[in-house]
Symmetry: C2
């Protein structure tokens, strides 16, 4: 990648998505177009190595606003309180990367910036109020209200996977019970299926697999397996329950389903989620339920959203160039 | 009340709160101070009589922005889709009242404007991100994000009473099951208590009352009745579950508990809600739970919030005076 040296309100920004295995990096134009991109392995569980790698990346673009998205809890000043994928805690990442730069650096949760990306240049373009739910190993989310991403008081907003839909119910990886993540994640998909297989009378191709996981179930459903289809329908129904809760709270223009598992579950789970959500909305007789759309930006949502957030921040508080 | 004739960005606005029995009206200064106030009976279940009464009121203040708050679903253009207290449907209230005026008229849900009032001049002053839950016969709510009230795509935001906390559980007046309103409203308080009284071994002063209601239970709890205290603790715990869901989603600075029943349940239900919410927040080790505070503005929240929303609207799109 070559250095880009112009700074302007309509200029590009650098987006970085710190994944569990890969650092994705892109120079992103104001309209969300990716002008340049690269990737490298994420230095594992080592704050110093991660910082060195990120510094090297951002130094190539000294005049661009920088946005970083990552899984975990990031406070409003860009300190990573907890980053499960990279094993860091209390790392003042924005401050470390901003050192000596003349353009702002922002760090935020990856699903929050993905929501911003979908709202600005993805499937929800043209809508001011957008809720993104992400479906992968777990369930996450991001929220845009009035065209601005909601990061929350401490930067912890968008943790939609831990909305409680069945108090006292299934155990969630977070330690509580009844979170939507315990009912509708990729992990839950495998778990619910394995529980069903205890019934010896159930006829299903899934018996051929020792311990079927979420991906096994979605594959079997695509092949027409009735048990897999039933489980995916149930999981979609649970997603709709959580969506109803957040739609009753925020009444967004659109709900976006994203994350690694979204496309593979969509054919069965989405219609089920739509029905389930619609049934639970207040004032059903006086409103049209918001559409539930599949995310459009795929793996690019993180870098694009991070870059767009950095542009927002640069526009709100421009740093005079030296 | 005398006519106020000045229009200015820092000037007062007229707030109207359409309750089930009373129309509250106030001229409210920019700082939330009530400069004048009056009230009259709400014309019952009659759109024409209501309109005539409201027109008469607003015509006294031809140059003031007007904000109207009311229970029900109000769309972004100020059309009342459904107003349960006043028996109207699809009434274009903002348009009807704006006719011939040189200042804007806004109509919005009463709990949403109450949230704005608490955020601007009430218990949550100084905070940008505020969630209000209201506890009365039912459960309602209002949300402020980034200092702006969230009305939602169709104006239906803030229906926190219908967040699902126990899918398939108790029947809610809305027709669904498992909404927080089915577990933590004044109505639910009476219902849960009456269910407990089926146990003949339970020793409680509530046996002296034929069919104890919510207010009976709060009175008995204040007098130290152990069953009443237990039920209020349980209800507070449920409130905390719903608060955890919305706090995980939005990470507000503060959660405000308001509505007619809030003060009478507070001594027992609030500590219980705080514990229950804190246990269910993501990243408990890395954050401080937001405080849960009692609403400060009481019955004035509606008129004050409606007036402040009208001022916001006037500032955003000033109508040139004739």
């Amino acid at each position: 990648m070559s250095a880009t040296t112009s700074t302007s309100p309509d200029g590009p920004a650098l987006g970085i998505d710190i994944g569990g295995t890969r650092l994705r990096v892109a120079v992103v134009a104001a309209d969300g177009t990716i002008l340049e991109r690269t990737a490298r392995p994420t230095p594992a569980a080592e704050a110093d190595a991660l910082l060195a790698s990120l510094r090297e990346l951002v130094e190539e673009y000294p005049h661009l606003p920088v946005g970083v998205g990552m899984a975990g809890l990031v406070d409003p000043r860009g300190t990573v309180r907890y980053g499960p994928n990279i094993g860091v805690r209390d790392l003042p990442l924005a401050r470390e990367l901003a050192d000596g730069r003349d353009a702002p650096v922002v760090v935020a949760n990856d699903a929050s910036v993905a929501a911003l990306a979908e709202q600005r240049v993805g499937v929800a373009t043209g809508n001011d109020d957008v809720v993104l739910m992400t479906l992968g190993t777990g369930v996450g989310g991001g929220i845009v209200v009035g065209g601005q991403v909601v990061l929350g008081s401490g930067g912890f907003a968008g943790e939609l996977g831990h909305m409680v839909v069945h108090e006292g119910g299934r155990k969630c990886p977070c330690g509580n019970r009844g979170c939507i993540e315990a009912y509708a994640s990729g992990t839950a998909l495998g778990l619910i299926t394995r529980e069903r297989l205890v019934d010896p009378d159930l006829v299903t191709s899934l018996r051929e697999i020792a311990d079927p996981t979420g991906p096994d179930v979605t594959r079997a459903a695509a092949d027409g397996d009735p048990v897999a289809i039933e489980v995916l329908t149930e999981v979609g129904g649970w997603l709709g329950v959580a969506m109803a809760s957040i739609v009753n709270a925020l009444d967004p223009d659109v709900v976006v389903l994203g994350g690694g598992a979204a496309h593979s579950v969509a054919a069965i789970a989405l219609p089920s989620a739509r029905r389930s959500m619609a049934e639970r909305l207040v004032g059903a007789a006086w409103r049209t339920p918001p559409p539930i759309e599949l995310a459009a930006l795929g793996d690019d949502a993180g870098v694009v959203g991070a870059a767009l957030l950095a542009r927002d921040r640069a526009a709100a508080s421009p740093i005079p160039s030296a």
